[in-house]
C-alpha cells in the first residue's frame, strides 16, 4: 500500500496543509516506509476482536461519567482571548466566511 503524490495532495487539502511538489518525496518516503510495517499488521487475523479504544477497558469497562447541569464558568473573555490574533468588539476576526 503506497501513497501517491495525488493521495498526498488530497490528504494535505483535507488537513489544510500545503506540501509543495519539491517536498513531496521527503514527506512521502517515511510514510510509505511506515506502511510497509503496516502491511504486516494487517495480516493479523483479528476476527471477533473488539477494538480497544480505552486502555483501561481490559481491566474494567469504562462508562462516561455525567456531570450535573450547572453553570460554573463565568465570563472570562479577556483571559481566554489574550492569545487571539485579531479581536474586534469581542469577536474573533477572520477573512470573510462565504456561505
Amino acid at each position: 500500500m503506497s501513497l501517491t503524490s495525488q493521495d498526498l495532495q488530497r490528504l494535505a487539502k483535507l488537513s489544510r496543509l500545503s506540501v509543495p511538489e519539491a517536498d513531496e518525496a521527503r514527506m512521502l518516503e517515511p510514510i510509505n516506509g511506515l506502511f510497509h510495517l503496516v502491511e504486516q499488521m494487517q495480516a493479523v487475523d483479528t476476527q471477533g476482536v473488539v477494538p480497544l479504544a480505552h486502555p483501561f477497558d481490559v481491566t474494567q469497562a469504562m462508562a462516561l461519567r455525567l456531570r450535573e447541569d450547572r453553570v460554573s464558568e463565568p465570563n472570562a473573555r479577556e483571559a481566554n482571548q489574550q492569545s487571539a490574533p485579531w479581536v474586534e468588539d469581542g469577536l474573533l476576526v477572520v477573512p470573510k466566511v462565504i456561505e
Binding site: 494535505a12 489544510r16 496543509l17 477494538p51 480505552h54 486502555p55 481491566t59 477572520v94 477573512p95
Partner: protein
C-alpha cells in the same frame, strides 16, 4: 551549596523542613544553573514568577502547612499549560501562547488549592507536540544529552531528562505517549515513570494522542519519582472524562518491601537480534542484581511486540491529526500574515506553524481515518491493540513485573537519525507495547553502554501497580549506585 543540584528530593526536603535551607535560596541556586544551561533544555524562565512561588512556599514551611514537596524546585515539560509562563509545546504554532489556566498536574504540584507547593523553575523543551524520540523536532532547537552534547537526550521529554541529568532541576514532569518519559530517562541516566493510563489528569496537557498520553515523573531516583508521582496522580473527575475514578495513592508507602519472591518476566521478543550487545550486558547485570535481591525470572513471550510499531503509528497519528485541527490561526496560536481568504488563513498558518514530523503525522492520521481506509487501518490497529493488551494480562498471570530494555541502543548522535523518521519509530519497539496497553512502566538507570552512554532498564507492571514498580526500582537503587552517577562537570 554547590552540591545542592545532585541531592535528592528527600534530602532537599529534609533541609527545607529543618530550616537549614529556604525555598528561596533553593530557587535562586537552580535559577542560576538554569540560566547558565548549555543543553538547550529551558524554553522559558521567569525568575520573578519563580521567586514569588518560592516565597509562598517559604510561608507554608513557616506556618506548618507544607507538604514533603513544598519548596522543592520542579520544571514542567512545555506540553503542560501554565498561566504564568508561556506554553509552546515545542512548536512555532504556539510561540508566545499564554494559557488562561494551569494544567491540573501543574496545579497539583504547585500552588493551586490543595497544591503540593513546589516551585516552578520554568518550561522545558520537547519534541514538537510530543511527537518524536530525540527532542530534535523542537522548533526551538535540539537539546543536548548532558553525558555527551553531540548526542540526543531522547524524546519527546528530552529536555525534562536532560535538565534533571544536568542538575538544572531535581525533578521534572514529562509525558509519555509511546515511550517519551522512559526513553529519555534511559538515555540520560535518570529515573522516569509513566503511570497507568488515566491515573494522571490530562486536563491542560496539550493533546497528542488522547488514548495514549500520560503525564509522569522524572527525577534522580525511584523514591523521588514516587513522591512526585503520588502528588501528580489522582482522579480529576470534573475535567477529564478519561481520568480513572481510583483514589490517589502514596506510591512511596511500599518502597521498603523486600523483593523476596518477586517474579520478573522477561519477554523473549525484547531480547532479540536488534538489541545492542552493550545494552544487553547492562540489562543482564541488572537482572542478576534483582535475583540477588530475591527475585526470580520467568521467560515469557509477547508475540505481537513488533506489531506494536505499526499499531501505534496508526492510532497515535490518527488521534493527533484530529487533536491538532484546533490550531487554525483563528482563536490562538500562529496566524500567517495578510491571509487572502479563509482557506489561505488555514493552509498558510498551519503550514508555517507546524514542523515537518508533525505535518507528516497529521497526513498519516488523515489517511488512516479516511473513508474507506478506517476499517483496514484504524480499527485493525485498535484490534491488534487489544490483542497486545490481552497478551500482557496473560503474562501477568505468570509474573509480577516484566523487565527488559527501554531501547535497543544507547542515545545516538544529533542529526544521525534526524532525516530517518522510520528509524526513530523502530527504536520505540520496547516502549510502545506498554503504552498501547495503558500499563504503568518505568525506566531505571542500570549502567553504561557504548561510548559511556547510560542504559535504562524498563519495568512494566499491571494496571494500578505503580507502587510495585517503584518498590522494585527503589530496592535495586538501595543496592546499586548507577542512579547517583552524574555527567562530568555536573
Amino acid at each position: 551549596m554547590s552540591e545542592l543540584h545532585t541531592q535528592s528530593l528527600r534530602q532537599l526536603s529534609e533541609a527545607l523542613h529543618a530550616k537549614t535551607l529556604s525555598a528561596t535560596e533553593l530557587a535562586q541556586h537552580f535559577l542560576a544553573r538554569a540560566q547558565a544551561d548549555t543543553t538547550g533544555s529551558f524554553l522559558a524562565i521567569d525568575p520573578a514568577a519563580t521567586l514569588a512561588q518560592a516565597q509562598q512556599a517559604d510561608a507554608r514551611l513557616a506556618n506548618g502547612t507544607a507538604t514533603r514537596l513544598t519548596g522543592l524546585p520542579i520544571a514542567h515539560k512545555d506540553i503542560f499549560v501554565t498561566r504564568e509562563w508561556p506554553t509552546t509545546a515545542g512548536s512555532r504554532m504556539l510561540a508566545g501562547y499564554r494559557s488562561p489556566f494551569d494544567a491540573t498536574v501543574v496545579a497539583r504540584l504547585g500552588h493551586g488549592d490543595h497544591g503540593a507547593g513546589m516551585v516552578n523553575l520554568g518550561k522545558l523543551s520537547c519534541d514538537e507536540f510530543a511527537m518524536g524520540s530525540s527532542n530534535e523536532n523542537s522548533a526551538f532547537g535540539p537539546v543536548k544529552n548532558p553525558w555527551d552534547p553531540s548526542r540526543i537526550p531522547g524524546g519527546s521529554s528530552g529536555a525534562s531528562a536532560a535538565a534533571v541529568a544536568a542538575g538544572l532541576v531535581p525533578a521534572a514532569t514529562g509525558t509519555d505517549t509511546g515511550g517519551s518519559i522512559r526513553q529519555p530517562a534511559a538515555f540520560c541516566g535518570i529515573t522516569g515513570i509513566k503511570p497507568t493510563y488515566g491515573r494522571a489528569s490530562r486536563y491542560g496537557m496539550i493533546a497528542y494522542a488522547s488514548s495514549l498520553d500520560q503525564a509522569g515523573a522524572m527525577a534522580r531516583s525511584a523514591e523521588d519519582c514516587a513522591w512526585l508521582l503520588s502528588a501528580l496522580c489522582g482522579p480529576d473527575l470534573d475535567r477529564d472524562a478519561t481520568s480513572l475514578d481510583v483514589p490517589a495513592e502514596d506510591f512511596s508507602a511500599q518502597l521498603g518491601q523486600p523483593l523476596q519472591g518477586l517474579r520478573v518476566g522477561l519477554p523473549q521478543e525484547f531480547f532479540g537480534e536488534g538489541l545492542s550487545s552493550s545494552v544487553r550486558e547492562a540489562i543482564d547485570a541488572a537482572m542478576a542484581q534483582l535475583r540477588q535481591l530475591g527475585a526470580t525470572t520467568v521467560p515469557l513471550s509477547l508475540p505481537l511486540t513488533e506489531l506494536a510499531i505499526p499499531a501505534y503509528y496508526i492510532i497515535a497519528p490518527a488521534e493527533a491529526s484530529s487533536n491538532l485541527s484546533r490550531f487554525d490561526g483563528v482563536k490562538f496560536g500562529h496566524r500567517c500574515e495578510h491571509p487572502a481568504d479563509l482557506m489561505d488563513l488555514y493552509v498558510r498558518s498551519r503550514t508555517e506553524g507546524f514542523g515537518e514530523e508533525v505535518k507528516r503525522r497529521i497526513l498519516v492520521g488523515a489517511y488512516v481515518l479516511s473513508h474507506g481506509y478506517y476499517d483496514a487501518y484504524y480499527l485493525q490497529a485498535q484490534r491488534v491493540r487489544r490483542l497486545i493488551a490481552d497478551d500482557f494480562q496473560k503474562a501477568f498471570a505468570q509474573c509480577d513485573v516484566i523487565a527488559g530494555p527501554v531501547a535497543p541502543t544507547v542515545a545516538w548522535g544529533l542529526g544521525e537519525k534526524a532525516n530517518d523518521p522510520v528509524a526513530n519509530y523502530l527504536a520505540d519497539i520496547f516502549t510502545l507495547p506498554a503504552s498501547l496497553a495503558g500499563l504503568p512502566a518505568m525506566s531505571v538507570p542500570v549502567g553504561f553502554g557504548e561510548a559511556g552512554m547510560p542504559v535504562g532498564l524498563q519495568l512494566i507492571a499491571n494496571h494500578l501497580q505503580e507502587g510495585r514498580l517503584l518498590n522494585v526500582a527503589h530496592q535495586y537503587q538501595c543496592h546499586t549506585d548507577w542512579h547517583l552517577k552524574t555527567p562530568q562537570g555536573i
